[in-house]
Symmetry: C2
Subunit: 191 residues, 2 copies
């Protein structure tokens, strides 16, 4: 068996250490100077390479996990973006709808006016239909129990005939976009 | 030097083959039966492990490339979804806008009617502003050269004072959503 002289440098220390880990039972004597057999040297090299391979496999597993994560997250992002895609435009349409409703609250005294209002009401309804199709819904308020998640109390009133905490009046309509509150209803609540 | 007897199985063939690749200059004799030194056996094992490590590293590089690809693509998807997010609602609003404009083309003969129309016109303008904010734009038509990308010719007319192929009349407004045609303008074209 050939033996070679190994001077203990930092690198050799590592080599010896790994070698020891793999073949602890061999009880290699490690001192200032160590003699390693060819087999021991090869075993050390093999152990080193195997450790690299293990590292590489772990690195691959981690990257694979990251990969699956980013794919799943981007899928969820896509679904959320799709679900609430109209949110920005719908938010801008809320004051348009408010003004529309206000403008339609006129008393038509002449036939001409009545005819125009009728035409405009049809436009209003088609606007509401288009927004409903994208998921816009009016929040129920009057007569409901006050719910801070969807109602905003701007005043209190007293009605002894109704339960405490019930919404008495709707002061401004509130809207949901699907399961998301776009604008809470402004309400007055029974004391 | 110890020598061991190796019977040539398929596995050993591979081993020897790899060994040859790495140490071709050693000129190991491969026959029905081959004697390999301990060193040669170790070198073969090392070569095998190194090949596995190389494979693993390549596999990692490929996964890393896929990873970067999917990240880039999901970024582009997100940007496109964001850019055209309002497309569906805007498409549904086009007939609402058409009807709105039609309803506003009334002659107001009384002061009451004039006042209502004025109020409704303000609502109309705020609706248009909300859609413009999301990227809705009217396609230019009258007086423009006919462009099949944005115009749809539904009839031809003759006006000798104007150039051939020029849009004479706009029969229905067309709209772009940013750089995308949402609805081409219906036009009559000069013969």
């Amino acid at each position: 068996m050939r033996r070679i002289q190994v001077t203990e440098t930092t690198e050799n220390k590592d080599l010896v250490q790994e070698e020891k880990n793999v073949h602890a039972e061999n009880e290699v004597e490690v001192g200032q100077e160590t003699e390693l057999t060819i087999e021991e040297q090869y075993e050390a090299k093999l152990a080193e390479l195997q450790a690299k391979l293990d590292d590489e496999e772990n690195r691959h597993l981690r990257l694979r996990a990251d990969f699956d994560n980013i794919r799943r997250r981007s899928q969820l992002d896509r679904e959320a973006a799709e679900k609430y895609r109209a949110q920005s435009l719908l938010s801008d349409l809320l004051p348009v709808i408010d003004n529309f409703e206000r403008a339609l609250q006129v008393e038509a005294t002449s036939e001409e006016t009545a005819s125009i209002v009728k035409g405009i009401e049809m436009v209003y309804r088609s606007l509401i239909e288009a927004t409903e199709k994208e998921g816009l819904q009016i929040i129920k308020a009057e007569g409901e129990q006050f719910d801070p998640n969807v109602h905003q109390a701007v005043m209190q009133e007293q009605d002894s005939e109704k339960e405490t905490g019930v919404v008495l009046r709707e002061l401004q309509k509130g809207y949901m976009l699907k399961d998301r509150v776009l604008r809470p209803t402004m309400v007055s609540v029974n004391e």
